[in-house]
Symmetry: C2
């Protein structure tokens, strides 16, 4: 049943404790669904209510807390002890009278952890400002501090078992992109193409079943390609002359492999082809440069040098760390390829090199996800880098 | 292009201002993607970075703020004025050096709004505790207060145009459930069934194109049905004797119509049939009771009375307000059918009556989404209420 060995979960917990110790965090509240999964294997769409793990330096296993009706998921999916699975009654859910962090504060008090240094995921999606306020009000003797990246930074360097799941996700991602390139033709409704893409993602390959991805398929057409993060346009039919950006992914046990390509319906305009050539040239040069020991900002500088003089302007980051994740993002909020990010690349880091271009009227995307190896990097995908057209 | 008339957006803004005035909120920061969409039509998967609307009582239109690369989406999808679309540079994104709320605080200072009563969505997924801290640090003269439900409470009563989109979503939901009931047979991989379900959701019907839903398909099988919110089990094949819970939905322009049913592969065990009969009997009685003027807790009491003596135990809420939404939830965090919720039902409120049962070894689900009308309620679905088996 478990997606990883007990030994691997143990190692993750050990590294998390080590980092807690370094950062002066005695108790860590883990609300991020990917971090919960990473440490225990817990996996459900219950993160829309407050739930989490409590990792305490003086307790050997994490505690799970969450809504009572979701607690059997912890029993089925994790090896946590029965006495460490703490479900709260339903009257804590979305109530004006009580907050789940009241319940959490009671746990901390009962265990004598209410006067310690408590780390919380301040910048996490599923912790909330109100949770922070309620927790602080209940724990006047505690020092509540930011622990957003404690587990994320452990997750940033992947094990061989994790990298293998991303390789499997890459096979799904290739199938997904091929499905998109085949399905999108003039006259087809955009949502029908999106439906086929979703089916390919979730069904996966005959060998590797798929999973939902943390971002929905980003696939704007025509003028919508001038913005990042737009999806298909429901009911619209593709037309000759459309540019279509395809920012897709495959996922295997919540490990992602992203892939971005661009499709033009018809004969691409020269200005688009010129941008495509510049971006792909820069991408090729930059990927060849990536190796352990260089910094994130050096990779970005290499990219900027590669596209100098081509007329392409790229003011935003050109990549980020990715891996295990849940909606709304498959990025890890740690490494970004941009100036001032001095992270030193290490073997096992997974980076989506994604130099997306969004201009006034249209955009272009072509990306490569990769893992840093001992000597350079391994590309996850085997997928032609070009401006596709038909 | 716009999904609703300018008049409808104007009316929503007027009601929001009215509620702000009542609650003593002079400036409202709207981070919830559904609230952003509700007030302006903005729609993209960019909510994984900080973005929002700023609604000020002394400014006639909302301001949009967000990542620069996403700002063209505001230009394309909304009728906001160019000078009210404020993109921030990429170095604010997931940085240890700057926070997007620094940018927002600067806007508030420039406009002279930094000493007012400022409402923020404290319990929203996409505001964050860190955002709250940074905003407070930047605005020592402001009173920052909770405005989580300001727009949610306006949204709770739907217009006829909104209800029509939910009716369209219902046609999609029926197709989705039929797809699930047809596809799930012993020997099929669970992820392949899920792939067909996703395709049906997104493709929609010939008349009404679909959209992604705010929860993924919740479709546990076998022992996993003992927990709420579990999805399919990738790579597993359905077996004779499996119970499968199907908590699905259709969505049209982000307006949801949820639907829950239960499928048994084989001849259902008598204990399961008994629970199904009790739940469906209670559901029928309770739905017949729903009308304007009764309270949310009275509806729940009616349900509890209906199932008294059947052996069914349901300790959690039996329904909630739903409608326009984005991941991770299609519920609206306002009305819950449970004791102590004294909300009075009004025409235009949409409720998912969802008495999900999760026991030690298995569960059962059958639900009805409905809209409160002048005299009673209208059921959105035309779908048999029973324990399905094959």
């Amino acid at each position: 049943m478990a997606v990883f060995s007990a030994q691997e979960y143990g190692e993750r917990l050990r590294k998390t404790r080590e980092r807690m110790h370094e950062q002066g965090v005695e108790v860590l509240l883990v609300s991020h669904p990917a971090n919960m999964n990473y440490l225990t294997g817990f996996d459900g769409w219950s993160f829309y209510v407050h739930q989490g793990l409590i990792v305490a330096l003086d307790h050997d296993e994490p505690l799970w807390f969450g809504r009572e009706q979701d607690s059997n998921a912890a029993r089925i999916l994790t090896s946590l002890r029965e006495e460490d699975i703490l479900g709260y009654p339903d009257h804590y859910v979305m109530s004006k009278l009580r907050h789940p962090m009241d319940f959490v504060a009671d746990i901390l008090k009962e265990r004598g952890w209410d006067r310690l240094h408590i780390g919380v995921e301040m910048e996490g999606y599923y912790f909330t400002a109100e949770g922070f306020r309620v927790l602080g009000r209940n724990l006047p003797g505690a020092v509540v501090k930011d622990g957003t990246l404690v587990v994320n930074l452990v997750r940033r360097v992947k094990s061989e078992a994790e990298i293998e799941y991303i390789r499997q996700a890459a096979r799904i991602a290739e199938k997904v992109m091929n499905t998109a390139l085949e399905t999108i033709v003039p006259g087809v409704r955009e949502n029908d193409a999106a439906g086929e893409i979703y089916k390919a993602q979730i069904s996966g390959t005959a060998e590797f079943g798929g999973d939902y991805t943390s971002l929905c398929p980003i696939m704007p057409s025509a003028e919508r390609t001038s913005s990042a993060h737009l999806t298909w346009c429901t009911d619209r039919r593709y037309e000759n002359g459309d540019i279509v950006l395809l920012e897709l992914a495959g996922a295997r046990h919540h490990y992602h492999c992203p892939i971005s390509r661009t499709l033009f319906l018809g004969e691409p305009r020269p200005e688009l082809q010129k941008i495509a050539d510049a971006v792909i040239g820069g991408l090729n040069e930059t990927v060849a440069f990536i190796r352990p020991g260089v910094t994130a900002e050096e990779v970005e500088a290499k990219w900027r040098e590669s596209i100098a003089g081509t007329g392409v302007n790229k003011p935003s980051r050109v990549g980020y760390s990715f891996g295990l994740n849940y909606p709304p993002d498959w990025g890890e909020q740690t490494l970004s390829l941009r100036p001032a990010d001095t992270t030193i690349l290490q073997p096992g880091m997974c980076i989506h090199f994604m130099p997306g271009i969004w201009m006034k009227d249209f955009g272009f995307e072509c990306s490569e996800p990769l893992v840093v190896t001992e000597k350079g990097c391994e590309l996850f995908l085997n997928f032609e880098r070009k401006l596709f057209s038909k």
